[in-house]
């Protein structure tokens, strides 16, 4: 097994790897944003004292936490088109179908975990904070928005960062439905050239660079935005 | 028995022990007292090398405890140590806690170790709790088990690091009684404590420490009636007549 660095710069290899990386990053960012927005929504929905709604949220979270991510992607890609209304289906088919479904699946998956992480952050805040917020006249929603949620996110930061890291790695699962992200391109290059070692090493290093950066950002956040209460 | 020669210790930039020197003779009971942060716990933890030192020498029975080639486990097996937080092993029964060192370090058979454990537990008044788990014992009972555990090593010397500070007041007496009994039997003991009554009754000498130094080394009568060092005087005044909340001068 000899390693030829020049291989990585020859032919289509660099452009394939780069496009793979770009797709990975786009998928990651899109899913993260969707996930975070949905997570906040879920947390907000839970404060509404309407039993069927709470039940719905619980089921949503339980499904996304107990079913493997790749299976969730498959349910969306293979299964959902049959239930989507016609105009939506047409629009999806015209756009980048695989990418869209992967993004939705990953986003909803990560939203379930993030909502739980934020919830445990909320539970860690003393009840007196909420009492103080209400007693200065804030509504339940406003109290959540201005007082408890910002603190909850700080406390929930370590698990949130960890989940972000997992999301980045999970983008590789999208290759199962043909999304041309980094891992897909690695396999494609290997199929074309039969040279595995160099391209595996390159992609491994790229993933490692991303994870270590995310861990570093996490450490920076933990240092500058520490939880307000020492447990 | 124990000799400190110009012992120095730093925690980073903090000078925890400053040129500390002193001797504890065989059979003596030395009580170390002083305000928080004075270095008293640090000092006794250097004796069984739970804390390293950066300068000076510590000798036990004439031998330098930091001599290269000195087996640290052998050293520790020869010193009994009783912690403020008891530190019993919660997954082992009371008897097993006491048996562990004789079996694994001294190589005693299980039968002999069990006999020894039972005898020692009876000695500290816990014959009825021999099979109990530590979580079912009160604080005072746990600390007495910890003393039995230390005695199981048959050490020539026992160190006590604030043995009653974590106890509810009503249990302090039972532990001090055991310690008093050991002192009466001639055990060499070094005790860090705030229990001045015990110090007065049982100690052969009292070391007063503040800010990393031994400021006074005297017999109890002399220490309690006429302390020489001004900080010792203040310490005694504070401890024996607690102020009501008036600002400290």
């Amino acid at each position: 097994m000899e390693f030829q660095l020049s291989f990585l710069t020859s032919g289509d290899v660099p452009s394939l790897l780069l496009s793979g990386l770009v797709t990975t990053v786009r998928l990651f960012c899109g899913a993260w944003i969707l996930g975070f927005v949905v997570a906040l929504t879920l947390v907000g929905l839970r404060t509404i004292p309407f039993a069927p709604l709470t039940m719905l949220v619980t089921v949503f979270v339980a499904y996304h936490r107990n079913v493997p991510t790749v299976v969730q992607i498959m349910v969306w890609y293979f299964g959902m088109p049959s239930v989507l209304p016609e105009p939506v289906r047409l629009w999806v088919n015209r756009s980048d179908t695989e990418f869209l479904f992967a993004l939705v699946a990953l986003g909803l998956n990560v939203s379930a975990y993030m909502s739980e992480d934020i919830r445990s952050g909320l539970r860690a805040i003393p009840h007196t904070q909420l009492e103080a917020a209400r007693s200065i006249g804030l509504s339940a929603f406003a109290a959540l928005r201005y007082v408890t949620l910002p603190q909850a996110i700080r406390i929930g930061l370590p698990p949130l960062i960890n989940r972000t890291l997992i999301l980045f790695k999970d983008t590789s699962l999208a290759m199962a439905i043909g999304v041309a992200e980094l891992t897909y391109q690695v396999k494609a290059i290997e199929n074309l050239t039969f040279r595995s070692f160099e391209v595996f090493t390159a992609s491994t290093l790229l993933y490692l660079a991303a994870s270590l950066s995310l861990m570093g950002i996490g450490a920076w956040f933990a240092k500058h935005y520490p939880p307000p209460y020492r447990s | 028995m124990i000799e400190f020669v110009a012992v120095e210790k730093w925690y980073g930039d903090y000078h925890a022990l400053q040129a500390v020197s002193g001797r504890v003779e065989l059979g003596e009971v030395v009580v170390v007292c002083g305000p928080s942060g004075s270095g008293k716990s640090t000092l006794i933890r250097t004796i069984n090398r739970l804390e390293p030192i950066q300068g000076g020498t510590i000798r036990i029975q004439g031998h330098d405890i930091h001599a290269p080639g000195r087996d640290i486990n052998e050293l520790r097996a020869g010193i009994g140590f009783v912690f403020q937080q008891f530190n019993l092993f919660p997954h082992l029964s009371t008897r097993e806690n006491v048996m562990l060192s004789p079996m694994k370090v001294a190589g005693m058979s299980r039968k002999d170790a069990a006999e020894l454990a039972d005898a020692l537990l009876t000695k500290v008044g816990l014959a009825h709790k021999i099979d109990a788990m530590p979580s079912n014992l009160s604080g005072g009972q746990q600390q007495r088990v910890a003393i039995a555990r230390a005695l199981a090593q048959r050490p020539p010397l026992i160190l006590f690091d604030e043995p009653t500070s974590a106890l509810d007041p009503e249990m302090v007496g039972e532990v001090l009684a055991v310690m008093k009994q050991l002192a009466g039997e001639g055990m060499t003991m070094m005790v860090v404590t705030h229990e001045m009554g015990f110090a007065r009754e049982v100690a052969d000498r009292i070391w007063f420490m503040d800010a990393g130094q031994i400021l006074e080394d005297a017999v109890p009568e002399a220490f309690f009636t006429a302390p020489r060092h001004p900080r010792a005087q203040k310490f005694l005044a504070d401890i024996l007549q607690p102020r009501s909340g008036a600002p400290v001068a």
Partner: protein
């Protein structure tokens, strides 16, 4: 959906057994279980190395853990597919390759669970153990590990759940576990994709949800039993983040 379940539940559960190798969800559980069992001794070593005062042990263990936590499982599987035959000299079946990949992947996560378990004990325990003359090895064996391992159980069960979910990707290299079986069903029942994959999700859901609940119950039991003396908090294994 119910008729898909009715028609294919054995295929999804055990694959083509007894007319072929054991597959389906049984294979999933065996792959996940064997992966964790084989990986655990390695992880104990790595976990102890991670907390070791000697950098000779600490640095390599840290690099190993950061590396295998930082790349997707599918990459590790590709590496295994490439490296294992080259190292052992003969062609390894997909199950074997997947097992090797999972063992390596799990070792990193289990090592962190071990590390949290070791760090979760009060420092007084190791001090007391050393003070009675036990060597580091004896202290680990008789005092620290017995307690740490019990405290780790809930985290280990949760990690088993994560591993079950992680195995879902190995169908890509041809391992005949439950996702592979579902893909087979889907290729036959072409218009029934949604029910097929929901049934697949159902298999995982039942297993993972029950195990997670069991882990929670175990955690409560341990916390109740281990109320510490002298005002110390009950020991519950630190919430270590597991994969997926």
């Amino acid at each position: 959906m119910l008729d898909i379940l009715h028609r294919y539940w054995t295929l999804l559960l055990v694959g083509s057994w007894p007319n072929g190798p054991l597959g389906g969800f049984a294979a999933t559980l065996i792959l996940a279980g064997a992966g964790i069992l084989i990986s655990f001794p390695l992880a104990i070593g790595l976990g102890m190395a991670r907390v070791s005062p000697l950098s000779l042990f600490r640095w390599p263990a840290t690099v190993w853990v950061y590396t295998f936590r930082g790349i997707p499982l599918i990459m590790i599987i590709f590496w295994a597919y490439f490296v294992v035959p080259a190292m052992t000299g003969f062609k390894v079946p997909p199950f074997g390759t997947a097992l090797c990949a999972i063992v390596v992947y799990e070792s990193a996560f289990l090592a962190e669970i071990v590390r949290a378990g070791l760090n979760g004990l009060p420092p007084g325990q190791i001090e007391a153990a050393r003070s009675i003359g036990l060597s580091y090895g004896q202290a680990m064996r008789h005092v620290i590990l017995p307690q740490a391992l019990v405290n780790m159980i809930p985290s280990l069960v949760n990690q088993f759940v994560s591993t079950i979910k992680a195995t879902s990707i190995v169908y890509i290299i041809g391992v005949e576990e439950v996702t592979f079986a579902a893909m087979q069903v889907n290729s036959v029942e072409m218009t029934r994709a949604l029910p097929t994959f929901l049934v697949l999700a159902g298999y995982y859901f039942v297993a993972c949800a029950s195990l997670t609940y069991a882990a929670h119950r175990i955690e409560m039991y341990i916390a109740r039993r281990r109320v510490q003396p002298a005002g110390q908090k009950p020991i519950v294994a630190d919430a270590v983040e597991v994969a997926g």
